[in-house]
Subunit: 192 residues, 2 copies
C-alpha cells in the first residue's frame, strides 16, 4: 500500500535491532485518515472471507482493527493484557512472548465476545515473529471459533512470522512488507 510505505519512509525510524519506530502515525500518535485508508484496504482484501468478527490485541492493534471493522461493518474485539474487573472469572487466556517488551504478556478474551462458530479475522499493527498473532489464534481456537484471515499493517519478513502462521492455511495480508533493516536500511518488498 503506497500511502503507508511513503509514510514509513518519511516518518518511520529504524532504531536498530529490528525495531521500527512508527510512534508518530500508528503507535502513540495516530493519523486517523491514514488508519482509515488502511482499514479500507484491509476490507477490500478480506471482504470475501465472510468474517463475523475481528480480533486484535491491545494496544496498538486497536486503531487499524477498528478502522477495518468500520469498513467491514463487523464488531471488533481486542484481547486485554490485564483482566478488568468487568470481565467474568472464566476467560480465555494465553501467554505470548513480546519482542518489543522483552517479556511475556497475557492475552485475555471474554467468552462473551468470542463464541463457537465465529469466523475470525485477526488484524494487528505488526507481523514480526508472529508470536502475538499466534496467541490470538490460540484464543480463537480455544473458543471453538475459526481463524479465516490475518492482516497486518507492516510485515517484517526477516522475523519469520509468515512461516510460523503458514500451517493455518489462511490468507495472510500485510499492507507493506519490510525485508531488511540491517545497518539502518529500510528495504521494502515490492509485492505487498
Amino acid at each position: 500500500m503506497q500511502a503507508l510505505k511513503e509514510r514509513i519512509l518519511k516518518d518511520g525510524k529504524n532504531l536498530g535491532g529490528g525495531i521500527l519506530k512508527v510512534d508518530s502515525f500508528i503507535n502513540h500518535q495516530v493519523d486517523p485518515e491514514l488508519m482509515d485508508a488502511c482499514g479500507a484496504e484491509f476490507a477490500r482484501r478480506f471482504v470475501k472471507l465472510g468474517a463475523t468478527r475481528i480480533l486484535t490485541a491491545e494496544i496498538s492493534g486497536i486503531a487499524p482493527a477498528l478502522m477495518a471493522a468500520r469498513h467491514l461493518r463487523l464488531p471488533v474485539v481486542y484481547a486485554r493484557k490485564t483482566k478488568p474487573i468487568t470481565m467474568p472469572d472464566a476467560v480465555y487466556l494465553t501467554v505470548a512472548p513480546s519482542h518489543t517488551k522483552g517479556r511475556a504478556v497475557e492475552l485475555i478474551v471474554s467468552p462473551e465476545y468470542l463464541a463457537q462458530g465465529e469466523r475470525v479475522l485477526i488484524i494487528d499493527d505488526f507481523l514480526a515473529s508472529g508470536a502475538t498473532i499466534l496467541g490470538l489464534v490460540r484464543l480463537t481456537q480455544a473458543a471453538g471459533a475459526q481463524v479465516v484471515g490475518i492482516g497486518a499493517l507492516i510485515e517484517k519478513s526477516f522475523e519469520g512470522g509468515r512461516q510460523a502462521l503458514a500451517q493455518l492455511k489462511v490468507p495472510i495480508e500485510s499492507l507493506v512488507c519490510i525485508t531488511n533493516m540491517d545497518n539502518g536500511k529500510l528495504v521494502f518488498s515490492e509485492v505487498s
Copy 2:
C-alpha cells in the same frame, strides 16, 4: 446522544459500586459504527474550538478519540501507561489514581507529539472522578500546551468529575450523563 443511551440501556450492565459494564460495545468488544457516530457527535460539538490535537489515554479512550479525530481531521495522541522502547528518555509523565483498577497508573506522553502552543481537545470513554482527565490536563500543561475542551462518552455525574474540571473553564461535553446507579438503577440526565 440517543443512540448511545439506547445502547447502554440495552447492553450496559450496572455491576454495583458505580461500575458500568460496557464491554460489549466500548471496552473490550467495540461497535465501530456506534463509535464512529460518537466521533461525529464530538466533532459537531467541538469543531469551533480550533483544536490542533486530540489527547486521550490508552486503552479504552482510543476508540472514541480516534473516531473524533477522524471527523475533526486532527492527529490523536494516546498517553501510554508503560514507556515503550521507542520513546525517548525524557518524557512527560504523571500519575493518576484509577478507580476501576484500584491503584495509580502512570500516563506518559512523548514531547515529540505534544508541543508548546498546541490547542488540545481531551477525549475519553468515561468522565467519573475526573482523575484520568486531570492527569491528561497536567501532561498538556507540562508541555506548555492549552486544553481547549473535554469530551467523554459517558459521564457519571455523581462522582464529581465535572466539578473537579470546572476550574479549567473549558467546554465539557458528555454524550450521555448518568446521575444515579444506586441499587441497580441507571438514571440518565435528560440534558446531555
